[in-house]
């Protein structure tokens, strides 16, 4: 009599367990099983546009690694999941990738929110997350490899440029960001930095909008008001992300703002955000990354043509002629991981971590990037780009060599 309920209850339990109790792949020596890498990039939701590019770059790089014989004689396999731009889903899926799929390492996340959601999981399970985006710093976990720059290497040089003669002697700053950890931390650091440059509080304005905000009427009006106050040239430090970027640019253009009036430094703007926009009225606004696709090196030509062939061969929905910095970072991450595993002769986290220190390679921008021996940050070059009329960036300035990343900014406490 209780058979049916018993069966139904246990049945649904088994349904879930069935998916979970897969045979555990033997990572023991001599195995020919593929090494799995978890790819934690959203393919739906507000971050889908950008993150799906990274997923496909990762798959392309994995194909390249496999074509060279794989790692430790084994093929590498990318396990793709879709966290759907939902931060708790990132945590859930990272647990799944590590515990159920036994991935050797995870490559993923764009927003700092998603990284912070995954952080406790990789720390509790002692796995490695390779994070390809520039971010706010203030973090140095032994379970995360930081493939792109903290603010000291990217944001501050751009701010210095704008405060200098060539940039227009900016003296007033309007900071608008999406409401989460990255913009908040960046702005906190900037406020501390401005204090050291004797910029008064009245010359600063700080505003936050929720993710996905598309109505910037009031904000742009406020920017115009702010810029009209006396005290010097005003600029906008824009830390909104995702859909909000084209929305804000469109509103600024519609209300008559040009880069010659009020320059906008968009810290998260990539070429994919400019797609579909008429960028002629946006010419001159700035962004800063470790790579822009206009850089002219043989490595970059190779990388761009690899991507183009990959997109055409697989019939992907991406633009074959568009390459952005996070894609390059993802590529570097997988290659450096492969190098570390080969050196350590193991995929174990501890061994890989030790072998990663000091690993280096030449990146498409022509710099010889190298992994810091202790902080797990990657030393990259730095560039400032200016939006051009072709929905891309022209390189305004680039650093001569790779820059030392500073995980913990000295300016945070000064705010």
């Amino acid at each position: 009599m209780k058979r049916r309920t018993f069966l139904s209850a246990v049945g649904s339990g088994l349904v879930t367990a069935a998916g979970t109790a897969l045979p555990k792949p033997a990572l023991a020596a001599g195995s020919t099983e593929p090494i799995k890498l978890g790819l934690l990039f959203s393919q739906s939701g507000t971050m889908a546009n950008n993150e799906s590019l990274l997923k496909d770059t990762a798959l392309m790089t994995i194909d390249q690694v496999n074509a060279k014989g794989g790692v430790l004689g084994r093929q590498v396999q990318g396990v793709v999941v879709d966290p759907a731009s939902d931060w708790p889903m990132y945590a859930q899926l990272s647990k799944q990738l590590i515990q159920r799929d036994k991935c050797a390492a995870l490559f993923g996340c764009w927003t700092s929110v998603s990284r912070k959601s995954v952080l406790p999981v990789v720390e509790a399970n002692d796995s490695l997350l390779f994070y390809p985006l520039h971010f706010e710093g203030e973090e140095q976990s032994k379970n995360v490899v930081y493939l792109n720059s903290p603010p000291s290497s990217s944001v501050l040089p751009a701010i210095d440029y704008l405060m200098g003669d060539q940039g227009g002697n900016a003296k007033r700053f309007y900071m608008i960001g999406s409401d989460y950890v990255w913009p908040r931390t960046i702005n906190k650091m900037l406020k501390g930095y401005f204090k050291t440059k004797n910029i008064p509080d009245s010359a600063l304005r700080e505003r936050y909008v929720p993710f996905g905000q598309s109505n910037f009427q009031t904000i742009v009006r406020e920017i115009k008001d702010f810029a009209a106050q006396p005290g010097g040239q005003a600029i906008v430090v824009m830390t909104v992300v995702g859909d909000s970027i084209p929305a804000m640019f469109k509103e600024a253009v519609n209300q008559g703002i040009r880069a010659t009036d009020i320059p906008i430094l968009g810290l998260d703007v990539v070429d994919s955000d400019l797609e579909g926009l008429d960028t002629k009225p946006l010419v001159g606004h700035l962004s800063c990354w470790c790579y822009f696709q206009n850089v002219d090196t043989p490595q970059n030509t190779q990388f761009k043509s690899d991507w183009k062939n990959y997109v055409t061969a697989h019939g992907l929905k991406h633009r074959p002629d568009m390459v952005i910095d996070p894609m390059v970072s993802t590529n570097l991450g997988i290659n450096l991981w492969a190098q570390a595993v080969t050196k350590a002769k193991s995929t174990g986290t501890d061994a890989v971590r030790k072998a990663l220190a000091g690993q280096s390679m030449v990146d498409p921008a022509g710099y010889t990037v190298k992994m810091d021996p202790s902080s797990q940050y990657l030393w990259r070059g730095d560039m400032i780009g200016s939006i051009n009329a072709k929905q891309g960036f022209d390189i305004l300035w680039k650093s001569k060599d790779i820059v030392k990343p500073v995980p913990y900014s000295p300016f945070i406490g000064k705010a």
Binding site: V209, P230, E251, A259
Partner: protein
């Protein structure tokens, strides 16, 4: 014989001077370019030289300088390491001679102007344009010069004023020169400048005056000080009026969006008591229909591209209405008199629709190319700037509302709809095919949602889950206004739109939204039937 020889000598002299002038000119071009490209040279000074060439009397030089300045602005000037300067393009040109370049180094990248340089370039090309043959070019250039009066070269402007035969353009230029008086030490100049600047109040004018008054030399002079302060006060007054109008205008545009999204729901919910959680998805379907029309017209009728938004209106209406009627036929008609089940069923349909659109179109944002006439905006009065896309939204909302009102009040369908709502069984007794009326009414409601989607393509982001953000808001508008009352919908969307925009500048968009939601909930507690209750007898 004597005359012949003199003639010959004169012609020879002319020829020689001509040749050497042009040779000199060509050499001069190269020299100017070299000065510009020099790595530690002063690019600003070199730019000034270009401008000099541009405003000289030599038409050749004028055209050449114009081209060079344009090339620099477009990041197309390449200073090659070999010393050759080229302009990018197909084919690349030699910058000095403007002939096809022999061989341009692929390794060198074009000069990218900094922001400061961009400002100078803007003024430079405006100054060159002041000497163009076409009136419109000169008028635009004059306005540009006026806007950046602090950066202009007075010698060139004076020359341009002397040359200018059109009185309007000349007066603009004179005004710009007068504004420069702010920088002079002569008191009369300063007073004239203050007057000139205050004539056209704007944010930039206020900035200029505020920066001016901060100077010690101004503060020490009481007459000038008084003039500046009263000018600033005058500008402030007009600016605050402008700001108030801006808020009213944004409230109106927000209300327009609310009205559009809530109108269809008002009909469906009010007249038929059906809760449709898939309403947001009809909006989304309307937006994607617009996308399809845009793609189609871009491919097949590029000449009429700007009109795509007008073509999209009937297309989106029909597609959404058909989807609505299908929904009604397959799902809703089994669920009348069971509102809670309708709610869940329409929710199920909404998630399926979202996923379907995601699969078909991808989940990223769809970017729309704004039709030319909707780009930009207009400075109606100081401090009050309207963007055309929002004006369009407001106008369209009003027109759609009037059309809906007409349909409901004046057509047979509307009459049948109202009859079926007020006393369904009696209407059926009188021969009204209630099921068909329901279907058409539902179709109408869905079609209106589709129209909302068309308008939203210009002012909001379009992606498969865009509808979910509008459902709660539209329901609130309908419930507050009174289900079924079209007038109530208008009043409540106006009220909510304005309240939202009044709160937003102080507390931010999200807080404004939350406050409005809570306000509605409170009002509903007191008056559950809404502001304008429709009298029905069940």
């Amino acid at each position: 014989m004597m005359t012949g020889r003199w003639l010959f000598l004169t012609v020879l002299c002319w020829l020689l001077t001509g040749m050497s002038t042009s040779a000199w000119a060509a050499t001069n071009h190269s020299a100017l370019l070299a000065a510009f490209c020099a790595t530690d040279g002063n690019k600003a000074t070199a730019l000034e030289q270009f401008v000099e060439a541009g405003v000289s009397d030599e038409t050749q030089d004028q055209a050449w300088a114009r081209l060079i300045v344009d090339a620099i602005r477009n990041s197309a000037l390449v200073c090659n390491s070999s010393g050759l300067v080229t302009i990018q393009g197909t084919p690349p040109l030699d910058a000095a001679t403007l002939k096809t370049a022999a061989n341009s180094n692929p390794g060198d990248s074009p000069y990218v102007p900094s922001i400061v340089m961009m400002r100078k370039l803007m003024v430079a090309s405006a100054e060159i344009d002041l000497f163009s043959g076409q009136r419109d070019t000169r008028a635009d250039a004059a306005r540009q010069v006026d806007k950046s009066f602090a950066l202009l070269d007075p010698a060139i402007i004076t020359k341009a004023i002397k040359r200018e035969r059109d009185p309007d353009i000349a007066s603009v230029l004179t005004l710009a020169m007068a504004k420069r008086g702010l920088g002079s030490n002569n008191r009369a100049d300063r007073l004239a400048a203050i007057k000139a600047v205050a004539e056209v109040p704007s944010e930039t004018a206020r900035t200029a005056l505020a920066n001016f008054v901060a100077q010690d030399s101004v503060r020490s002079d009481p007459e000038v000080l008084a003039a500046v302060q009263s000018a600033i006060a005058k500008i402030d007054t007009s600016l605050s009026f402008g700001r108030a109008f801006s808020i009213l205008f944004s409230g109106l545009s927000y209300a327009g969006v609310l009205l559009l999204t809530a109108l269809g729901l008002s009909i469906v919910f009010g007249l038929m008591g059906v809760i449709n959680l898939a309403h947001g998805e009809f909006i989304m379907i309307g937006a994607y229909s617009t996308y399809l029309v845009e793609r189609f017209m871009q491919a097949h009728m590029p000449g009429l591209f700007d009109a795509y938004i007008f073509v999209a209106i009937p297309v989106a209406f029909v597609i959404s209405a058909v989807c609505g009627m299908l929904l009604e036929f397959f799902v809703i008609r089994f669920l009348y008199r069971r509102p809670l089940e309708t709610l869940l069923a329409t929710w199920a349909v909404s998630i399926a629709l979202i996923k379907l659109v995601q699969v078909l179109f991808g989940s990223q944002n769809v970017e729309f190319v704004t039709p030319g006439f909707l780009n930009g905006g207009m400075q109606v009065s100081p401090g009050f700037f309207v963007t055309y896309n929002r004006v369009f939204a407001i106008v369209l909302a009003l027109l759609i509302f009037l059309a809906t009102f007409a349909v409901v009040r004046l057509t047979k369908l509307g009459l049948l709809m109202r009859a079926t709502t007020q006393l369904r069984d009696m209407a059926r007794c009188l021969g009204v095919a209630a099921e068909r009326v329901d279907r058409l009414a539902f179709g109408l409601g869905a079609g209106l949602a589709g129209l909302a989607g068309v308008v939203l393509t210009q002012i909001a982001s379009v992606n498969p889950s865009m509808g979910t953000g509008f459902v709660v808001d539209s329901f609130m508008v309908v419930v507050l206004g009174g289900a079924g009352s079209l007038l109530g919908t208008v009043v409540s969307s106006l009220a909510l739109g304005e309240i939202n925009q009044f709160i937003e500048p102080f507390y931010g968009a999200v807080a404004a939204k939350v406050a409005v939601l809570l306000l509605i909930v409170l009002i509903i507690q007191k008056r559950p039937q809404g502001l304008f209750a429709l009298k029905t007898r069940v």
